[in-house]
Amino acid sequence: MSVLIALRFLHFTSLMLVFGACMFRPLLLVHPSQVGRLRNLIDPLVCLLAALALISGVAWLFAVAYELGGSLDMALVRRVLAETFFGKVWTLHLFACVAVLVCLRLPHPKLQVVARPLSALALATLAPVGHAAMLEGAAGTWLVINQLIHLLCVGAWLGGLMLLMFVLARPGDQDLRMVLGRFSGVGCVLVAGMLITGLINTRALTGTFLPLPGQSGFATVLAIKLALVLAMLGLALWHRRQLARGPLDIHGFKRTVTLEWACGLGAVAAVALLGTLAPTPLT
């Protein structure tokens, strides 16, 4: 059980960072002073994250097979892939993960562009896996679409923050105010999407918009996650205000952006745990 939680965290995080990095690359790292670092540091790192995503994805499959069947032989894994809904989605998901890794590994500028929709597909195929799959019919489809938007928003946000940390660490001679302004504008839309879809998810899974912590393990972890998200939101708004006011304090920004990113990872860790808990107590 705890192995599955760790794997869920690793997989969610690495895939989201890959997606966000692919999406925000053309927005944040266009300045000529960033090309060298892009090639030497960020591209290999994103490629490594994609490899991590693939490995943790395969391991996740084995962990689920072990949980369902109690053994780790290939016959069981094949049965899980062929017979269950999870397995069918996961087949597509793993293919997408492989494709993303190949695109990022081969040094061709066109493939970098192809990696963007592919990483979106990889993240999107995570939506029907887990609690979002529990409803049927039209409501079920809408819940999965809602989860999909949620994942894409969160992924883009976290990956973008990671790139922003790199830019802030060594901004070169570019106009930081413009880079931050661009990020902040897109970030606003992402955060709004994230909050709305998150609330819909909460309502659909638990029956209330704000389950009181202490009612169940699920509600407590959810409250912790919500606190982390609100902290992120507060920091984001604070950044916006700093940006609109006088001169930039880069060192301060660096610290708070890192803190914001850490809050985001904490929230993903909470989700990794939430996915294994029952939203409403089993009687």
Partner: protein, 145 residues
């Protein structure tokens, strides 16, 4: 001026103006509203399969049923689910292979190989729901003589 319009930085800067931000938020909000309505009005469903309507119902006395049906709160992965029935003396009742109801992945149908004799029976179920969660439970019913 065309060069200016093409510049992605300029296009993105549009979002930076507060009004555009609100417009963008309002647009995504409107798109999500229909989704929200659908999910919000639907009755509370419960992730992890819960046994919601077993037939015969728990703790009831019935005439020997030709089949038992277990209705769950969400779709069940048939290949990874098990149901067993034991008589009052602890002997397992021989059952036909587990099946789901026609056109209803949420309901499992269990047919005893031979008609059930009078007495109390315990049904043990362990199922995997479509979101790959395991749940289990048991209940009793009585067949009247």
């Amino acid at each position: 001026m065309t060069g200016r319009r093409r510049c992605p930085a300029r296009r993105i800067m549009l979002y930076w103006r507060p009004f555009s931000v609100f417009k963008a938020i309002a647009m995504s909000a409107r798109k999500l509203l229909s989704a929200a309505l659908l999910v919000l009005v639907s009755p509370l469903a419960m992730a992890h399969a819960h046994l919601t309507h077993p037939v015969p119902a728990a703790d009831t006395t019935v005439v020997a049923p030709a089949q038992l049906s277990l209705g769950f709160s969400e779709a069940i992965e048939l290949g990874f689910s098990q149901v067993s029935v034991t008589a009052a003396d602890g002997d397992a009742v021989a059952l036909q292979p587990l099946a789901s109801a026609a056109g209803d992945a949420k309901t499992l149908v269990i047919k005893p190989a031979a008609p059930l004799a009078a007495g109390q029976y315990t049904v043990h179920w362990q199922v995997v729901s479509v979101d790959t969660h395991k749940s289990a439970g048991e209940y009793r019913f009585t067949v009247s003589p």
